[in-house]
């Protein structure tokens, strides 16, 4: 058919009609949206800051390294680096340093690959650090072997990789995903009276093992007879399908093990399916961005978090808020930056316990000597390699159980909760 033979008028009418139909479809079926989920950002509450004491450290600085992904494929985590820098200033200016001496932070930004992480480790080792703090580093498989070989302790703030959780001389002041899930599972069985549970998790080896060992097996040990396992791919297009599978058979509690974006998807799917089950997510999903993106769907969800919520009324949390306001006012008060801040302050206390804080071997010895040692905004820790079975790096199995209500997190257990 040649162009000349086409009668253009009917073709344009057809095209125009289809366009009008498409726009009409969209306009007619447009909902008003969920105002709760889509509300404009609230102005931050003004919080009265406590006055920080003035106590400057003196002497030769102790070198502490940090490897963090300011940005990686999963997002922007520069706030963890900022929070750590703020913590160093807090320690040096307000706490009198680590054993009286200031800390000098050697920071390396890695891009999330193992090669870059390995380069960062080698770069930091040139400065002879006493310890290295691990921020959110997706490539930690590359750095940890080098640090372990050099005998330098690694302090994980958000341990996610197998290497961080099991590497010798790796320590975590926080329960991490494993310990959190155990505690949350026990809480659900005992306090929420879960009868039928489902575990919805991102399909990757660590998440699957955590789902099986730290949720399913713990729930069954607590007498929950029916536990359904529902994996979904990291590039799952529509989580409503897996969630529907999870809700089948009258599930009353859904456990979610996934990164933050996955939590948002599950919350949205929960809303679209009008689910009335109770939801228990991992602690990383208690981040302000997730709660805001989840909107009203996040209300009523439980999270086991490794540190005291930043809005709590304890001396440590007040000091944290004041220090961030002073040294890093642009950093949000989410769990990632709070964990990084807390790990740094707690590390400074460990360094203060040894008379050779520049010596990594002495620092490792100090870590191993910790027994029920209080930490900054965190639980007491014991670094004997036995707090969570199979994960020798984790020094505690205690968490706070918080619940989201109207966009705010409430501590519902009122104490450190463990499995």
């Amino acid at each position: 058919m040649s162009v000349e033979k086409i009668s253009r008028r009917p073709a344009r009418v057809v095209a125009g009609a289809c366009t009008a139909l498409a726009l009409t479809l969209v306009a007619a079926c447009a909902s008003n949206g969920d105002a709760g989920a889509n509300s404009k950002s609230d102005k931050a509450e003004s919080v009265r800051q406590v006055e920080l004491p003035v106590k400057k450290a003196q002497g030769k600085p102790i070198v502490v390294g940090m490897i963090n992904n300011d940005t990686n494929a999963a997002g922007n985590f520069a706030n963890m680096g900022e929070a750590t820098r703020a913590a160093v200033k807090y320690v040096n200016n307000n706490l009198g340093g680590a054993g009286g001496r200031p800390i000098r932070l050697e920071y390396c930004n890695s891009n999330g690959t193992t090669a870059a992480s390995a380069n960062c480790a080698a770069q930091i080792l040139e400065q002879h650090p006493a310890a290295v703090i691990g921020g959110l580093d997706l490539g930690s498989d590359g750095s940890l072997p080098l640090l372990a070989k050099a005998g330098v302790p690694y302090v994980a703030t958000t341990p996610i990789s197998a290497t961080e959780l099991t590497s010798p001389d790796s320590f975590s002041f926080f329960a991490g995903a494993a310990g959190s899930q155990i505690a949350a599972s026990v809480y659900a069985a005992k306090e929420l009276h879960t009868k039928k549970a489902a575990v919805l998790f991102n399909e990757n080896p660590q998440a699957r093992l955590a789902a099986e060992r730290f949720v399913r097996d713990v729930l069954k040990a607590q007498g929950v007879k029916k536990v359904t396992m529902v994996p979904f791919g990291v590039n799952e297009t529509d989580v409503a399908g897996p969630l529907s599978q999870a809700l089948q058979g009258g599930t009353d509690t859904v456990f979610g093990i996934m990164p933050e974006s996955g939590c948002v998807n599950v919350l949205k799917a929960k809303q679209s399916l009008a689910s009335t089950a109770t939801y228990v997510f991992t602690g990383n999903c208690a981040a302000p961005g997730v709660l805001k993106a989840g909107g009203s769907a996040a209300d009523g969800s439980y999270f086991p978090v490794s540190v005291q919520p930043a809005n709590a009324d304890t001396p440590d949390t007040k000091a944290f808020r004041a220090a961030i306001a002073k040294y890093a006012p642009s950093v949000d008060l989410g769990f990632y930056p709070e964990s990084a801040f807390a790990a740094t302050v707690s590390l400074s206390r460990v360094l203060g316990k040894t008379d050779k804080p520049d010596d990594p071997a002495a620092v490792i010895k100090a870590f191993h000597a910790l027994k029920n040692e209080p930490t900054f905004v965190g639980p007491p820790v014991t670094c004997d390699g036995k707090q969570v079975a199979g994960l020798p790096s984790v020094c505690t199995n205690q968490v706070r159980i918080v619940k989201s209500e109207n966009g705010r997190l409430q501590d519902v257990a009122g104490r450190w909760y463990s499995g």
Binding site: A37, N76, T114, N265
Partner: protein, 663 residues
């Protein structure tokens, strides 16, 4: 049965998304000749733009942010679709228009670059990646027996079907649409008829970007927003576009919806029957769809009658001399011994990366087959090594030899579909394979290690430990191993087998006519390349002393292909340059440290890649070789006196000038 149907309905949302993206792939391929794998990333970027415009009254552009008044939904959508159109136009004008005559692989690599730019832009420009697209379509729950489906899935499917119908009308009954079909059939003839392929390509890029953007806005409440995972939606979209033979919008939409429904049914079956594989089964389906479709269709897809020269960069004659190889080895040894700390670590990464790049040089540069799954072979060998050393306690050299042998077998198996599939289509098949293996095998804790991950003990040679990536012993071992492989590849180039591989690359039909066993050559070439990649996987395991599935995911493969193409895909020297430039390699690390790019590292790398692809499509090694030959030629040229006036008069003036110019 009812439950099966209910779950099929639940898959409508996912299927619609595959259908919409697949439609965009078909549109861009038909009008512009590009398999645009950046559509998922484009949709993701516009989804974020809309989310922040609606939620925060901020129009976040690649450069700059504009505070806006509270816009109604339709206005915010129009603004975002305009941004999408502009992005599509910029991508075409700056990247794909200059590459119109380039090979299909180069265009594919450029699309990877666009994806990387969009991903890094999102991470940089949007304050939080935990954003949520507010729902536009009504999302009231609809109950089907015991199951609930949200109404917006049905509405979205209706929108996509309407759009596909609109595109069908466009390409059948409008001048522009017919021109697009004409260009797809025979670009030269269409140009003679007065159609402008450039204008049509630009329109297609703008249209497909707007389509992806609309999907990002309407489907965002369903898919969520994530810089990485949203980009991977393109893999099932490619599968359904292939079912539609990269031509039919209707079949593509139907295939997309069907695929989503089947995946949802498989989810139900996995829950009911525990003997079904529980890991990655649904993610394998797009790959199976691709393979079955191509097998049924005889491996051929509609090709476009374009002006493009599909040739890969030329292979140099002869290859590197022993002196060059020896000098390179000496420099490598000197660097290992003199560098320390992070520079030595980066050098070791470079050495291992060279081996991955060599495998790409063999399979693509020499054999002419596009494989985007070389890291899959590396991962297979790496995880086998981990299991053999930690569970079976088999040491060096048997464990790595067995691991590499298994990688070779896998490579030969993957070559079987390559016997009937060629060009970018083969690249798409291998892309699907890479995703499938990653989801089905590498993420299965039963095969790749438990809570402790996949450990690899220290490499020990004659009882002495060689250390890991930061140690001289391991660095030298890796250097010698890679040098031996490079020498092997250079020698292969000079053998009869190598010559036959080049003939297959140049023209398969002619090679077959000359009596070459095409199937045998392809199987052998794939096997050799897989063996090289497997060796790299083994070295990576020893370097890191642990392995994770992230080391071998599809984006790592794509990055290596991009870097090798940039460096020189037809040369061994290209593999060396690529190793230096690879993420974490020596040059990459040095630049990162000296320039201190910090959080801008990713986007600078991505933009740099695109710039380099556009300006040196023949590769850095090729350009460097060309410049070197020119320089040597100039230096060697003997001095010749200027012709005298009598000679010029005798020869004629023009000839005299010519003689002067050439001497």
């Amino acid at each position: 049965m009812i439950e099966i149907l209910q779950f099929a309905l639940l898959g409508l949302g996912a299927g619609t998304i595959y259908a919409a993206l697949g439609t965009g792939v078909v549109l861009t391929y038909q009008a512009a000749g590009v398999i645009n794998i950046s559509l998922g990333a484009m949709g993701m970027y516009i989804g974020y733009t809309y989310a922040f415009l609606h939620n925060e009254d901020l129009l976040v552009l690649p450069i700059g942010t504009i505070a806006t008044p509270d816009l109604p939904v339709w206005a915010a959508m129009l603004v975002c679709l305009a941004v999408a159109a502009l992005l599509g136009l910029v991508a075409y004008a700056l990247v794909f228009r200059p590459l119109r005559s380039a090979s299909g692989l180069l265009k594919l690599v450029a699309a990877v670059g666009i994806t990387m730019v969009l991903q890094s832009l999102v991470v940089l420009r949007f304050p939080t990646t935990s954003a949520s697209v507010p729902p536009i379509l009504a999302n009231d729950p609809v109950h089907f027996g015991g199951l609930t489906v949200s109404w917006d899935r049905f509405l979205l499917a209706a929108v996509v079907i309407v759009i596909a119908a609109l595109l069908w009308v466009l390409t059948r009954f409008t001048r522009t649409g017919l021109a697009m079909r004409a260009v797809a059939e025979d670009e030269r003839a269409a140009t003679l008829l007065g159609h402008s392929p450039g204008r049509l390509s630009a329109l297609a890029w703008m249209g497909s970007s707007m389509l992806a953007g609309l999907l990002g806005i309407l489907a965002g409440p369903i898919t969520g927003l994530d810089p990485v995972t949203n980009s991977l939606f393109i893999v099932p979209a490619l599968a359904v576009a292939i079912v539609g033979r990269l031509r039919s919008f209707g079949i593509t939409v139907a295939a997309g919806i069907a695929l989503g429904m089947v995946q949802s049914v498989v989810l139900k079956l996995q829950g009911d029957y525990s003997w079904l594989p529980q890991t990655g089964l649904r993610e394998v389906l797009p790959f199976l769809v691709i393979v079955v479709t191509l097998a049924v269709s005889g491996g051929s897809l509609p090709s476009r009658g374009t002006e493009e020269d599909p040739r890969l960069p030329a292979v140099p004659r002869g290859g590197a001399s022993p002196i060059t190889v020896g000098a390179t080895l000496l420099v490598g040894v000197a660097l290992v011994l003199t560098l320390d700390g992070p520079y030595r670590t980066a050098l070791t990464t470079t050495v291992v990366s060279v081996l991955v790049c060599l495998s790409i040089v063999v399979v693509t540069g020499m054999l002419g087959q596009i494989s985007l799954a070389q890291m899959t072979f590396a991962g297979a060998a790496g995880f086998v090594l981990s299991n053999l050393t930690t569970r079976a306690h088999i040491g060096f050299p048997f464990a790595p030899l067995i691991a590499v042998a298994l990688a070779v077998i896998l490579g030969v198996a993957v070559a079987v579909p390559a016997l009937r599939i060629r060009g970018v289509t083969l690249g798409v098949v291998t892309l699907g394979l890479a995703v499938a293996v990653s989801e089905f095998v590498f993420k299965n804790p039963g095969w790749t290690g438990g809570m402790g991950g996949s450990r690899v003990p220290e490499l020990r040679l004659f009882g002495a430990g060689l250390g890991n990536g930061g140690d001289i012993g391991f660095a030298l071992f890796a250097l010698f191993a890679v040098t031996a492989c490079a020498i092997g590849v250079i020698w292969l180039r000079r053998t009869r087998l190598g010559g036959q591989m080049l003939m297959v690359r140049a023209n398969e039909r002619a090679a077959a006519a000359a009596g070459i066993n095409i199937a045998g050559i392809k199987l052998t070439g794939f096997g050799i390349a897989a063996g090289l990649a497997g060796t790299a996987g083994v070295l990576l395991g020893y370097q890191q002393e642990s392995l994770a599935f992230q080391n071998f995911d599809v984006f790592v493969s794509l990055t290596y292909v991009a870097v090798v193409y940039l460096a020189g895909i037809s040369r061994v020297s290209g593999a060396v340059i690529a190793g230096l430039m690879a993420p974490g390699g020596l040059v990459y690390y040095a630049l990162d440290r000296w320039l201190d790019l910090g959080k801008y590292n990713a986007i600078v790398s991505a933009i740099g890649l695109l710039l380099a692809l556009v300006t040196t499509p023949g590769g850095v090694a090729g350009e460097a070789d060309r410049q070197l030959r020119w320089l040597v030629g100039r230096l060697r040229r003997p001095a010749v006196p200027e012709p005298s006036g009598e000679q010029v008069a005798a020869l004629g003036e023009e000839t005299g000038h010519a003689v002067s110019r050439t001497t």
